[in-house]
C-alpha cells in the first residue's frame, strides 16, 4: 500500500464518524458542560444571568430539595426491585422453556412499547381512579369503602414506574439467560445438582450481567422520571424530576435547576461506578 493510500485509509473512519460525532458534541456533550456554568450564575430571566461563581446554589439546592431527592431514589429503587423480581421468572421461563414460541412471547412482553409513554401512564390513571373500572366496581358491589383512594399515593406512583420498567427489565434478563450454555446446566445435573442447586449455583450467577444491565437501565430511567409522579401522584409524591422540570420550564430558575440536574447526574454516575463493586457480578461469581 502506498503512503497516500495508507493515509487515506487511516482518515476514512474519522470522516465516517465526523458528522455523528459533531452532532453529539454540540447537542449532548457541550450542553452538559454548559449547565455547569449556568448553575453558577445569578440573575433572573428578565434582566439576564451573570456568571458569578455562586457555589452556594449547591448547598441551597440540597437543603431545599433533600426530601424530593430521597423520594426519587426510594421510588426508583423500589420500582426497580419489584420489576426485577417480577420479570426474572418470566425471562427465565421464556429463555429456557419458551421453545418455538420464544419470539412471540418476547414480542408480547414488548407490547407496551407500542403505546405512547404518556398514554400508558394515563391508562393507569383511568384504572386507579376513585370512580374508575377497578375501584369504582369494587365500591359499587360494596367490597371497598367510599373513602378508599389509590391515586395521589406513593403506591400509585411506584405502580406506574414499575409498569414502565417491566419490558426494559425483561430484555437484558432474557438476553443473558438465553446466552447461557445449556451444557453448563447439564453438567451440573450430571454431577447430581438438584434443580434448586442448578438454579442458584449455575443459572443465577451466569445471568448476573443481565441483572446488572436491567437494574442500571431501569434505575436510571425511574429515578429521573417525573411523568408518573405528575399524573398518578399528588403534592406529597413530588420527585426530583418534577422539581427540575418546574424550576427550569415554568419558573425559569435556570441556575437552581441546572444544579439539581447536575447533582442527579453525578449521584447516578457514582452509583453506576460503585454498584458493580458492592453487589455486582464479581460478588455473585465468588458466591458459586
Amino acid at each position: 500500500m502506498s503512503v497516500g493510500a495508507r493515509l487515506r485509509r487511516s482518515i476514512v473512519p474519522y470522516l465516517l464518524s465526523l458528522p455523528a460525532g459533531l452532532w453529539l458534541l454540540v447537542f449532548f456533550l457541550i450542553p452538559l458542560l454548559t449547565i455547569i456554568s449556568v448553575s453558577l450564575m445569578v440573575g433572573n430571566p428578565v434582566e439576564g444571568f451573570n456568571l458569578t461563581w455562586n457555589f452556594d446554589v449547591y448547598p441551597d439546592a440540597v437543603s431545599q430539595y433533600a426530601t424530593q431527592y430521597g423520594r426519587s431514589f426510594l421510588y426508583g429503587g423500589i420500582s426497580t426491585l419489584i420489576a426485577l423480581v417480577v420479570m426474572y421468572p418470566v425471562a427465565y421461563w421464556i429463555a429456557f422453556h419458551g421453545g418455538r414460541h420464544k419470539s412471540v412471547l418476547l414480542f408480547l412482553i414488548l407490547l407496551p412499547f407500542f403505546v405512547s409513554f404518556v398514554i400508558r401512564i394515563l391508562s393507569w390513571q383511568f384504572i386507579l381512579a376513585d370512580e374508575g373500572i377497578v375501584l369504582g366496581t369494587l365500591k359499587d358491589i360494596g367490597l371497598l369503602g367510599e373513602g378508599v383512594h389509590v391515586l395521589s399515593t406513593p403506591g400509585a406512583v411506584i405502580a406506574g414506574l414499575t409498569y414502565d420498567a417491566l419490558p426494559f427489565m425483561a430484555l437484558p434478563l432474557y438476553v443473558s439467560l438465553e446466552q447461557i450454555d445449556r451444557a453448563h446446566v447439564d453438567a451440573a445435573a450430571d454431577l447430581y445438582a438438584n434443580a434448586r442447586q442448578r438454579f442458584l449455583r449455575v443459572i443465577l450467577p451466569l445471568s448476573a450481567p443481565g441483572v446488572y444491565a436491567g437494574i442500571l437501565l431501569v434505575a436510571i430511567t425511574n429515578v429521573g422520571d417525573y411523568l408518573s409522579a405528575s399524573i398518578l401522584g399528588g403534592p406529597n409524591t413530588t420527585m426530583i424530576g418534577n422539581v427540575i422540570q418546574t424550576q427550569y420550564v415554568q419558573n425559569s430558575n435556570y441556575p437552581l435547576a441546572s444544579a439539581l440536574a447536575l447533582m442527579l447526574m453525578t449521584t447516578l454516575l457514582v452509583g453506576m461506578f460503585l454498584y458493580p463493586r458492592t453487589f455486582g457480578t464479581r460478588r455473585l461469581q465468588e458466591y458459586t
Binding site: P13, Y14, L15, L16, S17, P19, A20, G21, W23, L24, F27, F28, I30, P31, L32, T34, I35, V38, M87, P89, Y92, W93, A95, H97, R100, L108, I109, L111, P112, F114, V115, S116, F117, V118, L122, S123, Q125, F126, I127, E131, I133, Y163, P167, R182, D190, N194, I220, T221, G224, Y226, L227, I231, I240, G241, Q245, Y248, V249, Y254, S258, M272
Partner: protein, 280 residues
C-alpha cells in the same frame, strides 16, 4: 428449540430426588401468562376507552356505553391534530437525519481500529444511558445560553441527538455480524470501494438500518421528557396529551393512541418478515 433438546436429553437423575409433582409444572407458565396479561391491562383500557360514550367531549373515568363516535370525529380537535402532525414530522425528519449520520459512524466503529474509537463508544453509550431529565435540562440551558428560540427546530435537534446513538448501536451490531470476506471478494473481482459498498455492504446491513429507523421513529414519536424541556410553545402529541390531563382527556387521544399502537405493530411484524427473508 434448544430448550426442547435439553429437556429431552437423557440425564442421570439423583436417586434421592422425588418424582416431580404434577401441578408444580404449571406454576411458572401460569405465572408468565398472568404477568403478560397484567402488562396488557393499560393497553386494553386505552383501546376500550376510545369506544366509551361521554356526555361531554371529555372522557369520564366511568364506563358509559359503547360508541364509534370518536373514530368518526377523530380529527375534530384541530390543536390535537396539529400536535400529532408535529410529532409525525419530527419523527420522520429526525429518523432520516439520525440514520444518515449514524450509519457511517456505525461502520467506522465496527470495521476500523482507530484512535478515539473507545471514546466514541463511550459517548454513544452515555447518550443512551443519561437520564432524560438531565439531557433535557442541559439542552434547554444550552439553548437559553445561546439565545436560541425554542420550538420545532430545537425539538428536531434534540431528537436527532438521542436517535443518533440508538442508530449507531443497532447498525453497529449488524455490521459486526457482517462477513468481511464478502466485501473482499467483491474488491478482488474488481469492484471499487464505492461499488463494493453499494452492492455488497449496504444490502447486507439493510435490515439493521431498517430496524434502527423503526426504533428511532418510535423513540421520537414517544418522547415526552426531553421534548418537554426544549419545545417552547410548539406542542407534540405527548405534550398535548399531558397538557390535557388537568382539564380532561378527549376520547380522540385514546383513539389516536390505539391507531399508533396498531400501525406500530403492523410495521414491527413487517420488519420481522423482511429480516427473515434477507440473506445472512
Amino acid at each position: 428449540m434448544e430448550a426442547a433438546t435439553v429437556e429431552a436429553s437423557p440425564r442421570p437423575r439423583s436417586p434421592a430426588r422425588p418424582p416431580r409433582r404434577r401441578w408444580t409444572r404449571f406454576l411458572l407458565p401460569t405465572y408468565v401468562v398472568v404477568v403478560l396479561l397484567y402488562t396488557m391491562v393499560p393497553i386494553a383500557v386505552m383501546i376500550l376507552y376510545g369506544f366509551n360514550q361521554s356526555p361531554t367531549d371529555r372522557l369520564t373515568f366511568a364506563w358509559n356505553g359503547f360508541t364509534l363516535d370518536w373514530y368518526r370525529r377523530l380529527f375534530e380537535i384541530s390543536d390535537l391534530t396539529d400536535a400529532l402532525l408535529h410529532s409525525l414530522e419530527i419523527a420522520a425528519l429526525s429518523t432520516v437525519i439520525a440514520v444518515a449520520l449514524g450509519t457511517p459512524a456505525a461502520l467506522a466503529l465496527a470495521r476500523y481500529r482507530f484512535r478515539g474509537r473507545g471514546l466514541g463508544d463511550v459517548v454513544v453509550l452515555a447518550d443512551i444511558a443519561a437520564p432524560s431529565v438531565v439531557v433535557g435540562a442541559s439542552l434547554l440551558g444550552f439553548f437559553v445560553y445561546l439565545g436560541v428560540p425554542r420550538g420545532f427546530g430545537t425539538i428536531l435537534l434534540a431528537h436527532v441527538a438521542f436517535n443518533v446513538a440508538f442508530v449507531v448501536i443497532v447498525v453497529q451490531a449488524r455490521v459486526s455480524d457482517l462477513d468481511e470476506s464478502l466485501v473482499e471478494a467483491a474488491r478482488d473481482l474488481g469492484a471499487s470501494p464505492l461499488v463494493a459498498f453499494w452492492k455488497v455492504t449496504l444490502p447486507l446491513i439493510f435490515p439493521g438500518i431498517l430496524a434502527a429507523s423503526l426504533l428511532a421513529f418510535a423513540l421520537s414519536i414517544d418522547d415526552f421528557i426531553i421534548t418537554s424541556f426544549v419545545a417552547g410553545q410548539t406542542l407534540t402529541f405527548p405534550l398535548w396529551v399531558y397538557g390535557a390531563v388537568k382539564v380532561g382527556i378527549p376520547p380522540q387521544v385514546f383513539v389516536m393512541g390505539t391507531l399508533i399502537f396498531t400501525i406500530g405493530i403492523l410495521f414491527a411484524i413487517a420488519a420481522v418478515i423482511a429480516n427473515r427473508r434477507s440473506p445472512a
